[in-house]
């Protein structure tokens, strides 16, 4: 039986083995059935874990870095890497959550920029920090709401909708600000994003706090399950009573809100509102999510993975500079990593199909004998 499983149907032996490891015969006449709640072994989980793979790459790259540049021993280098990674991380968390829910937002960079400029403009004109940060977040949420409504209720593809809003918002921001930086900003405003608690950059703490919330929602609440469900099979989710349009719209709103919040935090960190900020963030946020194991087809992914993906991007870009690699080649490396991550996603899905097929063959054979 093993031979047959292994060869002609094109099912590799290891999938057949995986299917066999817990022999099953759905609808068998066996009266006594074991409780099928068996836990998945940790090494099985680890094998499919994108987070672990990304973490390993970060560690490996850092180890190489130690041998190539003394800067890797410098605290400031790591403070810088983690702070940069934190901005991407905050945006990528919700971009990733949206992608897990089957959506896509290309306008996060513009929402980020809207956050930068609206927050700094208000602060510059004497409004207090609470208003500045609140208004920036509100504008981001508004942008997300527009995206969400057009995609879910106007039924226009997310790719096109958010590409459109990306251009439109950038144009509005540049027109309103005249393309000029805003600054200098009050000390109280810049204190919010700059500085550290002990040796830990405060931005990292913000990011960890926000990511933790996203993680709890995705992994421990029914809302998280619903997000994965609408990303995996929207019709099925709808048939079980999930309001798919509303939930997806909420994800767009969160995505816009936190993109703008990350923007105003970066303005606070830098001490000025720069209208060129956020340009590369659109693709970086998506890249971080995919590198961190978020599936392009939705439903699969973890917040931990997304955060590690953001950190990896930051480690790579900063690390390659420190190693004196030709700057032109940095994007090449990021591109290769991205494609490899997408390839891993595809392999994960293929494996599921192969295991299913192996199982089917086994059941057919069980029925025949």
């Amino acid at each position: 039986m093993k031979e047959r499983l292994a060869s002609p149907e094109g099912v590799p032996a290891r999938e057949a083995k995986r299917a066999q490891s817990a022999p099953i015969a759905a609808g068998s006449d066996v009266a006594e059935v074991a409780l099928p709640a068996t836990a998945i072994a940790w090494h099985e989980k680890a094998k499919g874990s994108a987070s672990l793979a990304v973490f390993a790459v970060i560690v490996a790259f850092t180890l190489v870095g130690f041998t190539r540049s003394d800067q890797f021993y410098n605290y400031l280098t790591w403070s810088n890497i983690l702070t940069t990674g934190s901005f991407t991380g905050i945006v990528a968390c919700f971009e990733g959550l949206l992608m897990i829910g089957g959506g896509l937002d290309l306008s996060v960079g513009s929402a980020f920029l809207a956050g930068v400029m609206s927050g700094t403009a208000l602060s510059y004109h004497g409004w207090n920090d609470f208003v500045a940060f609140g208004a920036a977040a509100g504008i981001g949420a508004g942008i997300g709401l527009v995206n969400g409504l057009i995609v879910n209720y106007g039924h226009i593809a997310s790719f096109i909708t958010t590409l459109g809003t990306m251009f439109a918002i950038e144009a509005i921001v540049v027109t309103l600000t005249g393309g000029q930086p805003i600054g200098p900003l009050s000390a109280s405003f810049t204190r919010v994003g700059d500085g550290s608690i002990g040796p830990v950059p405060i931005m990292l703490l913000y990011m960890v706090g926000i990511a933790l919330c996203a993680h709890v929602v995705l992994e421990y609440t029914t809302l998280g399950t619903q997000i994965r469900a609408i990303g995996g099979n929207r019709e099925a989710a709808s048939a079980t009573g999930v309001n798919t349009q509303r939930l997806s719209t909420i994800l767009y709103v969160l995505c816009g809100l936190f993109a703008a919040l990350a923007g105003v935090l970066q303005a606070s960190y830098l001490g000025a509102g720069d209208p060129t900020l956020g340009a590369s963030l659109n693709l970086q946020a998506i890249a971080a999510a995919i590198i961190g194991g978020v599936s392009m087809y939705g439903s699969i992914g973890t917040v931990i993975g997304i955060v590690l993906g953001s950190v990896l991007l930051s480690v790579l870009t900063t690390g390659l500079i420190l190693m004196r690699i030709n700057p032109g080649m940095q994007d090449f490396v990021v591109g290769v990593v991205l494609i490899m991550a997408a390839g891993a996603d595809r392999m994960r899905r293929q494996r599921m199909i192969r295991v299913s097929r192996a199982r089917q063959i086994e059941i057919d054979e069980g029925a025949a004998t």
């Binding site: 299917a19 490891s21 817990a22 099953i24 015969a25 759905a26 609808g27 068998s28 006449d29 066996v30 009266a31 059935v33 074991a34 409780l35 099928p36 709640a37 068996t38 836990a39 998945i40 421990y220 609440t221 029914t222 809302l223 998280g224 399950t225 994965r228 469900a229 990303g231 995996g232 099979n233 019709e235 099925a236 989710a237 709808s238 048939a239 079980t240 009573g241 999930v242 599936s295 939705g298 439903s299 699969i300 899905r349 599921m352 199909i353 295991v355 299913s356 199982r359 089917q360 086994e362 059941i363 057919d364 029925a367």
Partner: protein
């Protein structure tokens, strides 16, 4: 019959009222024991120019299995999707325990006590078995946190009671065989313990043994007093398990037969159109004018 069987109901399907029902069933809905728990009246549905259902009537009683049979495009699955709240009917009404449900949607269907096993199974492949079974009816703590351990346990127990074997309730549905997926979909519908269960092609992906198992599950549901509607191409399966068979053709009901009147050739004839329907006007929908 187990005291709940159809034989104790002196009623038959509504559209036959004026023409062939000599016992004078007046088609009214009361609250007595013989009142249908689920009823469709004059339900019509079109998709663009394609008429999927024309003035369809259907009644289901507690403790019986009603089978909808028909060729492709007969409208069987459309009926199930309307009852499950996936499609809105263009015309007609849905009654659950005599009460008209004005706007049926998936949530409303659940609240009305209807659970559904869809033909395309309605499972999220990337989610694990237990999560799929509790999708739409999660066990929660404080209303928002998922009680995963309890759901794993509950799913495992439900599957065990149904004698369904899956390697683990924690693996994604995508890794299951066709039969296992079917079993999970059926188990999900049973888990809620709703009084009305709709099953669209419950044996489509199954082998002989698995089909027998699903048949057993369906019989069990009946014994529990549930109203079961099955849509199936498998006439042998239907004749073995159903208490009544409703034959559909091109979006219309062509006839309803009780178990004691089952005649394979006649039912095939009704499905294919070789045997005239009980009410020829049904096909044109003009019986609507005849009915009061």
């Amino acid at each position: 019959m187990d005291g709940f069987g159809t034989d104790c109901h002196a009623t038959t399907v509504g559209f036959t009222v004026l023409t062939i029902n000599p016992r004078g069933d007046d088609g009214t809905v009361g609250s007595g024991p013989s009142a249908p728990v689920l009823e469709l009246r004059h339900v019509a549905k079109s998709f663009g120019h394609v008429v999927a259902l024309r003035a369809v009537e259907m009644r289901v009683y507690s403790g019986e299995i009603l089978a909808l049979v028909g060729d492709n495009g007969a409208g069987k699955s459309t009926i199930v999707k309307i009852l499950a709240g996936v499609y809105q009917p263009d015309d007609g009404e849905i009654r659950v325990r005599g009460t008209v449900v004005r706007r049926m949607n998936p949530r409303m269907a659940g609240l009305s006590g209807i659970s559904t096993v869809f033909q395309d199974l309605g499972l999220v492949e990337t989610l694990d078995v237990a999560t799929n079974m509790y999708l739409g009816q999660p066990l929660t703590r404080f209303g928002i946190f998922a009680k995963r351990a309890a759901m794993y346990r509950g799913a495992a127990i439900t599957l065990r009671d149904l004698q369904v074997r899956v390697p683990s309730v924690r693996i994604p549905v995508a890794e299951l065989s066709g039969g296992q997926r079917q079993s999970v979909a059926v188990a999900r519908a049973i888990l809620v313990d709703h009084p009305i269960v709709l099953m669209d092609e419950p044996t489509a992906a199954l082998g002989v043994r698995e089909t027998r198992q699903v048949g057993k599950i369906i019989d069990n549901l009946k014994d529990m007093g549930k109203a079961v509607v099955i849509v199936s191409h498998d006439l042998e399966f239907v004749l073995e398990h159903a208490d009544r068979v409703q034959a559909m053709r091109l979006g219309s009901v062509r006839g309803v037969r009780r178990r004691r009147d089952f005649n394979r050739e006649e039912i095939v004839g009704l499905i294919t159109g070789l045997v005239a329907g009980d009410d020829p006007s049904q096909a044109r929908g003009d019986h609507l004018e005849v009915r009061s």
